[in-house]
Every structure is written in C-alpha cells, then in structure tokens.
Symmetry: C2
Subunit: 592 residues, 2 copies
C-alpha cells in the first residue's frame, strides 16, 4: 500500500497552523499560511500565521535574517515559515488559542505569494456590504465564521450519507439535462445544439426520476441533488439549491418519517445536540387552526384558540354576525403584553389587516380587570369564559379576530409571529421539529377554476378518502407531509400514486386528458404500466437546514458561491452575453 | 432516539427477497417483489419473487385460496406474499441461490400492481436493442447486471468520500450556473430571464471554482461534480458526466499522486482487488516513444523500440533517408505473429497508413530465418541487431516504421493496440495504472498559429523550465499529469499557476492581452492578487472508472439515465420544444 500520511503534511509544510502545542516544543517545523495579525512589540515582530485549521504565532527577532521578510509581509501575504517550536513564557501563553502554549522562532521565512491591499478587513465584525463580500468571495470565505460554515456543511453531508448507507440506501445520480414539465415553478432551460429549436430543462427536483428508480426496482434511493428554479429570489432562495432527496419502495408514511427523524438525530448528534423522536405530528387542519400557518415555530406555545362557542349569541354584532355567516372567532394570548401601548395595538391591528382580516379586537388584563375600546360590547360571562379558555392572567393581553376561517387563521398566524418577536417568550425547546400531515390533495387554482395539486401532482390521496375524488375532491386529504423545524419548512414528501388509473384520474381532475398526460408526464405513467411498486419519499432542503444549524438568516452564508437576488455571481460576472457564433450554432436570436 | 430498524423491514414487508434461509424455517413472513420466473410443476405453482436483494421461491398449492391469484400473476406483477418459511426437501434445495434452502408456502397473495406484457424479456441474454433498453430504462434497470452496476457505483462513491474525509478534505458544492469561459469544449448555456440577452454556462469542470476555493483558504477540497460538455458524443462520452474532483494547497505533484493512488487502492480493495503503489510514472516523451500514445495499456508489454542507430547507414534508402532528414525508425515486435498472412500484413499496413505513416515494413521470423518482401534491402548485421534489440524469437514478427517522430509514434501506437487485440498476449497485471507526467505546457493550435495549452490553461510550467517561456515556449514541460488505467485516461491534473504575473505571461503566449485576460478569466486572476497559495489537483472521470470496474465498454451501462449519441433521453423525450410564452419570457427566438 502507498503510505498515505494521515496528517496534513505536504511537500511545503510539516504541520498546519492549528496543531502545535507544548508537546512539540523543541521540534523544528515548517508551516504555511496567511499573514493575519502582525504586531511589533519592543522591536520583536509577532505574526499570527493562519490557515484553515488555526493560527500559530511566529516570532521574528530584530537580529535575525528573517526580520526583513517578516517586516515586509503585509496582510494576507502567503508565507512559508521554518523554525523551532518554543514554549511561551507562562504569562504570555494564550489559553483562548489552541496553539497558545507555543510560538515559532522563525529561522526562515519565504513569501510564497504577495497580496494587494485588501478591500475590507477580514475580522468578523468589520462592517462590509454583502455586495463587496460576494465580489471578493475568496476573501470572505477566509473569515473563520464562513470557513466554519463550509466545513460543517461538508461534514454534515457525510453524516447524512453514512446514515443512509447504513440503511442500505443507494445514491443514484439523476440527469440534470431533463425535460421541462409543468410541475410548479419556472424551469431553467438549455438549448440543444444538436436538436435545433429544442431545449433541455434543469430539474426542479429529481421527483420523476426518483419515482422511476422505484419502478426500476432500486428499492431505496437517495441523492444530495442540485435543484433549479427560475423564480424571483429571496434571502432563503437561490436559483440552484441542494436537497437531500430520498425515496423508498413498499412503505407507508410512518416508514419515511422514521428514516427522516433518524437522519435529523444523526445530524444534530454530530453538533452535540440531542433531539428526541418520534417528532410530534399534527393534521394540517389542526395546525392551521392552532398556529394559523402550515409551518409553525413550535419553540414557543402561544396557541390560537377557537372561541366561537363563547360568542355565538354575543351582543357584539361583529362577532355574532360573523359566526352566523359561517365564520369563526379566534383568539391568541400575548403573555405579559398588557404593557403594549395604544400605538403598539394600532401596529398589530395594521398587521392583521395586511394579512387580510377586517380588524383586531384586543384586551389588556391589568390590575385584575380588562381594559379595551371594545370592552363595552362584551358581556361579563363572555370575558370570564375567554379568560378561562386562554388562561389569561394579570399583565397579559388577548387578541381576537372574527372572520372566515381561511382569513382568521393566517391573520392570527402573522400576529403570533409578531408577538413572539416582540415578547421573546422563553423557548420550550431549542429545536422544535413537527410533522404536518394530510394536506388537502387538491385546491382551486389562482383563477379559481380548475383543481390543482397543493404540493406535488404525484401525491396519493389517503386510501380511505380516495372514493371522495368522484364526489368531493376538494375535501380529499392526501398522504402529503411537511417537516418543519423552528418555523422553517425543511422538507416535503408523500406517499405517491403507483397505479396509472389513479394518477390519470387525479390529472383528469386537474384538467389534463389522457393525451395531455401522456405528452407531459409520459415517462412516469408509462413506467406505471409495468409493475410500479407502492413507494414514497421526501426531499429536505439542505441549504435551509445548514442555515438553521449555523444560525444564519441567509442561506448565502452556507453556500460557497451564491448568487445575488438578481441571479448574478458578482465574482465571476455570470450571466454574460454570448458571441454571435455561439448564438448561431444554437439557432437562437435575442429579441427585445 | 427513534428506533431505526436496521433491517429493510417496512409497513408492507417483514423481509426482503434476499435474506431468508434455513434459520428462518417455521416463521411467518411477508415479502414484496416482482413476479420473475413462474413454473407449474405437477399442478403446484412456483413463483420466483424478485427484489433488489434477491429472489425467493413462493409456492402456491392447488387447493389453497391463493392459487387463483398466483395463477393470474404475470411477469413483473408486483406481489405481496405472506406465508410460512419452509425448508425445501434436500434434493430440491438450490445451492446457487442464497435463499435456495427455503421456500414460502403462501397463505396470502395480494397483487399490489399489475404489468402490461413486457416489450422485452429481462433475462441477461435476451437480445434487445439499446434503443429499446433506453426507452424502457425502468425495465432495463431491473436486470440484475444493471442493478448491480448502479449499487456498486453508489457504494464506491461512498468509499471515495470516506477516504477523502479521512484525509480532511471537505466536499464543497460549486455552482452549476456559471460563466462561459474559452477553456476547451463547447459549453451548454442557460438563458437568464432576469438578464435578457445574457446566459449562464453549465461548467465543463469546477476547475476555476476549485482553484478559487484554494485561494479562499479551504486547503483541501473535493467534489463528486457533474460536468457538462456540448460535444459530439461517443460510447465513452455523455453530455453530462461525473468527476471526482479534488484540489489541495501547499502541495507538489507527488502529494497529489499519493492521494489519488490511495483513493484507487481504497476503491479496488472494496471490490477485493489489491493494487500496489506508488504507481509507475513516465515522462510524456518516453511514453510517446515507447507506446506511441499518451494513454498506453500497460497490462501488456509490446514496447516500441527506437532502431534509428541500426539503420543510420542502411542501404535501404527509405530508412536512411528518413533518418538523414531528422526522422526516426522505430519497431515493435508481434510475439507469435509470424502466423499472420500476407492479407493480415496488408491490413496492418492500411492501419498505420490511416494513422498517417507512409508505410509499414514487416518481417516474420520463421524456421530460424527472416522472411519479408523488404528482406532484400536489409543487411545481415542490421537484421541481427534488430533481432537482438527486440528479442525476437522463432515465430515472432517485427514491424518497422520510418517517419518523423510525431508520425511514427502514433502509427506504431495504433499498431500496438491492434497487435494486442489480435494476439491477446498474456496480461502482466489485471489493473495497470500509470502516471504520465510533464506534458508540454504549450502546443501550436490547429491552425498552427498561436500557442495554446495542451490540457489546461492554469497548469504551471516545471519551475526549472519556466525561464524557457521567453526563449523556447514549445519546449517548456509542465506540471501536468494524467492517470491512465488499462489504456483509459482516467484523470488529469496539475500543479497550477498561483501568481498573476506567471498566469498572465502564459495567457500572453496564447495571444490574450491583459484586458482580454481580465475579461475572460477575471475571477481567477483577481483572486491571485490577494494571497493565492501554491496549489494543485486532479479530476478523475467517475463514469469511466466505474465502467472499467464493471467491465463494460459503454459508460451508458453505469449511468442510470443516459442520453443517446444524439443527446436524447428516449424515456423522457428530452430535449423538447418550448411554448411561445416561455421563449418570449426568455427573450429568445428560434432561427433556421
């Protein structure tokens, strides 16, 4: 066997800048790295030499032949330093630095490369615009926080893979040059030079191919897959993103949930966090009632309560008439929110109005009694019942909305989010996972005409509700589930249709006849003709997951070379124009 | 912790079709899988139920309630079978089958899905066109050989990753929506809707980004990366392919070679093959002399010898005049090739002529003497010296070409390949790795005008030959190396330029002025301005490697969903036309 040096020794260095300690004292070593902080202390030069693994202090004494080079080395100069490992005198040892017990007395310093003056300081807290950071990404990635994010992202991908290989999943690469299908967002497309006028599409997900892999008998598939969506970008969206994508045959929803939970436990164990399973699961309809959003942040309580019963016969017409019209009255408590001023309450009212609600009723419970502009309309027993239902106590506030359920839910959901932001209640747990299950299979599309899928056109209806496809398709629940972590939708999956008849029936409800189904989804329905097994799976957004773990608001901080919100790479200047010859070869012309 | 079942038990099955043996006798199990072979033996039905993991025999007795379902199950029907594990009577046990000791007496059979009649039999040896196989890839992948290729490809990718993680490499995803650069082959491009008239390019490799990662201080990078090339396709080319891509900082050529060798050893150890290292290495110029090709198959000897010395003063003008004109005379021995007929010799002559040579001189050594149409032109001492040099013996043949070295080398290289194919000499080893080193840095481009790079514009010259860039650029050797296995170029890499001055000088020789360098390669030269470390790396073609290991001639057999040579996916019908609305959004028009 070739001897592989398990250390990171190379032709140019004997050690890295992160590994030397008192045990190495007296040894002559060669380090390579970047000139970080440099100080002149009574004529002696101290250089913090930095690489990915750490920082080591280099000493250049005034008399030494290396002094001149050390003096010339500016920020980010790449140096190669040979010298003796020396113990720092007790008082000078730096306990905050893994290599703080030692320093290197330099005998030889070579400048391997120089650096122009930097466009910004690399220190963590140097104020610098994201635009500059993206343009000089090679400098931004040298910042320890960014480097740590990249390394953690890499290591956790291996945790994921080891976990799935342990369960006999196989990673199978699906094509990136695929066919455009009307599956949701807009596709990026690639003109085919060999087939003028035709285009490949970059996949929005490996959805169809992974289902075909199940139909190919592959049993358990996964892939850390690159997905593409030509959408308007936001801080949590990039034109290309990575997904932990998996699919299994002969399974039900619970099988898939157990695999995903085990994966999350393996990932969090790697960063020293224990998360217990199985994760809580809730019906979609319950989640919407209790949190007003399909991805609630369950690190906090603050549950929305239905108080329709209390106000059915209320003298307060706004409530009783809404209820008589089939609406709901729902409430949420703001713990210790009685301190909110009239101005605060106005802002919260604006917030729920922006979310579509007609208005917000609020009450403060102070000094043992309620106060509110609406107080005079509410009867004493109603207030008492409300207090009991919400367990409101001295210093709390209560907020009510009366509206159609479909309006009250998101309005109070938005209010809940704002209350959490303002009140900063204690976290019930650090990592709050939740399965949201049984989304409706179909909903009316934006124009309100045809049925469309809520998540994925291949999702199966709950078997016990399949019969309602003929009579009441809007009320058929599906085998669709989302995995939510701390209010972020981490992933989405389902048990799929595996017979052509059922898949065609669902496409039929969406307005596709058999010819259109064949034309648009031919690959998958053809494969269903030849012994497709029951199967299901999930896709988990890797960038978002790593973003949460790294504690950053922007997934751009966990992607090596991200794009701006206009889809540009400021470092490479992509996208760019093509020359005429290229366009001609592709049989394309640019139009206005 | 959630209990993850380490077996492949799911809601629908207790076991797979590959795991039951005598130890399970008496247990009631539920299996799922596909109806493979079915036989009726004296009224009793035997079904081989197949999944990815194996085949288990199911028995349906005539009187049993399951008999009717078993009778109806046709090829590739998906079944769920519950029954008791029963020992087969000694004589009926099948030792060639891992589950051959047992069978399942079915108590319950459910058809989970039916199948249409198959377009072709799934048996290994069923004759079927590749077109049909690609159209019904979901059936083709159910064939055990194909399934095995996919699983092995997956497992070996994990071997690669574990190996590189063990050496503290980090896997970092580089963008797939990048900028087009004139780096070699034609780019696939992606129109940017947000930036009308501008295009992203799909990367031909992560070359520039991985170098920028080194400049970002990431120290050791790898990626199983998807690469794209819009080229004419062949059996070993696909529009997208996978590369084990790696890069390291502060290294020389040997550091990288050791890492690549260790990776190959880990891969081959996984399939039970030992390959010893370090791998042999040869200068590019030596390889061309001895094998006439830069990726020789060293499983075989058959070395080309230079015999210019022998024929310097030869009476045979073809030889002596070629030598006088600065050409060479080179020879190769065909062991036991004296049996070749005149017709065979004519075919070999055509072959070397097609490769550019003026002709081929051949001699057969039979019954202790030479025979050849050219014999009369050659002197006895010349023949004796030739015999000694080539160690020719009774029954061998000798082939000579006289030409410019640049012509003789590939001509005899092609002949060597043909001799190996015809003579099938004994293999010296099963897996013959070779490093080919020190390719020329530059060569004249096709039009013979400007200098162009031979492999990669970022490759560094050998430090000791850098000074010749000014005086004799065509004779500067580079730090470029190829890894060859059994005559296949597996990978290619180099130590790179890390200073802007040297990189610009090389680009200058290629005819780019500073403005053009900035415009086309701005990202990488800008990063060189800010402390770029010395670095180098390699990219290894993963499809080719797996193809060699799986013993297939076509990389399409180791890719789940490959394209045809015209770039089409016959299963999904990609590429396809776009509708007018999409084209309009992209500001594109199709031209003739």
């Amino acid at each position: 066997m070739t001897t592989i040096n398990p250390s990171k020794q190379t032709a140019l260095r004997t050690h890295t800048c992160g590994e030397l300690n008192a045990a190495h004292a007296g040894r002559t070593v060669t380090l390579t790295g970047w000139t970080d902080v440099k100080r002149n202390h009574g004529g002696v030069l101290f250089i913090n030499l930095r690489d990915l693994y750490g920082v080591t202090q280099i000493v250049a004494n005034p008399g030494s032949p290396v002094f001149k080079t050390a003096e010339e080395a500016k920020s980010e100069y790449v140096l190669r330093v040979t010298g003796k490992v020396t113990l720092r005198p007790g008082a000078n040892a730096n306990k905050n630095m893994p290599t703080g017990e030692i320093e290197i007395e330099a005998d030889e310093i070579t400048v391997l490369n120089a650096s122009q003056p930097l466009p910004f300081e690399l220190g963590e807290h140097a104020g610098v615009s994201e635009e500059t950071r993206l343009k000089y990404r090679f400098l931004d990635l040298r910042r320890p926080r960014m480097a740590k994010n990249m390394v953690l992202r890499s290591r956790l991908s291996q945790v994921v893979r080891n976990y799935l290989y342990g369960l006999d999943f196989n990673e199978i690469e699906t094509p990136l040059l695929t066919r455009s299908t009307p599956e949701g967002a807009r596709d990026f497309v690639v003109p085919s030079r060999n087939n003028p006028g035709e285009f490949y599409a970059l996949p929005q997900s490996p959805q169809q191919f992974k289902q075909v892999l199940m139909m190919s008998g592959m049993d358990r598939y996964f892939q850390l897959a690159r997905n593409f969506r030509d959408e308007e970008l936001r801080s949590d969206r990039q034109p290309e993103h990575t997904q932990i994508d998996l699919e299994m045959s002969f399974v039900d929803e619970q099988d898939i949930a157990r695999v995903a939970e085990g994966m999350m436990q393996a990932i969090f164990a790697h960063i020293g966090e224990e998360v217990s399973g199985p994760f809580p699961e809730m019906e979609f309809s319950d989640v919407m009632l209790k949190y007003g959003i399909d991805k609630p942040d369950l690190r906090y309580g603050l549950e929305i309560k239905d108080c329709s019963e209390i106000f059915k016969t209320s003298g307060f017409k706004v409530f009783s008439e809404t209820l008589a019209g089939g609406g709901v009255v729902r409430a949420i408590k703001g713990p210790r929110a009685a301190v909110f001023s009239r101005g605060d309450m106005d802002k919260l009212t604006d917030l729920v109005k922006k979310a579509g609600a007609k208005g917000l009723v609020w009450l403060r419970y102070k000094d043992g009694k309620w106060e509110s502009p609406t107080l005079k309309f509410l009867a004493e027993p109603e207030l008492a019942a409300l207090k009991t239902l919400l367990e409101a106590e001295e210093g709390d506030a209560v907020f009510l909305a009366a509206d159609k359920a479909a309006v009250a839910a998101p309005a109070l959901g938005a209010l809940r989010k704002e209350l959490i932001a303002r009140l900063k209640p204690a976290q019930l747990k650090k990592w709050a996972f939740l399965w949201v299950r049984h989304f409706p299979l179909l909903e009316k599309d934006a124009e309100g005409g045809a049925w469309t899928f809520t998540h994925n056109p291949f999702t199966a209806p709950l078997p016990e509700e399949e019969h309602k496809l003929d009579t009441d398709p809007g009320n058929v629940r599906s085998c669709q589930y989302d995995l939510v972590l701390n209010g972020v939708e981490l992933g989405s999956g389902s048990v799929r249709n595996h017979t052509r008849a059922l898949q065609e029936k669902i496409f039929g409800l969406m307005g596709y006849d058999k010819t259109q189904v064949q034309q648009r989804f031919g690959m998958i329905v053809n494969a269903m003709d030849f012994g497709a097994p029951p199967h299901g799976g999930i896709g988990i957004g890797y960038d978002r997951l790593i973003g949460l773990i790294c504690g950053t608001d922007s997934i751009r901080d966990v992607i090596a070379f991200p794009k701006t919100t206009s889809g540009a790479c400021l470092m490479s200047d992509a996208p760019a124009i093509l020359d005429e010859k290229q366009l001609k070869e592709l049989h394309l012309k640019i139009t206005e």
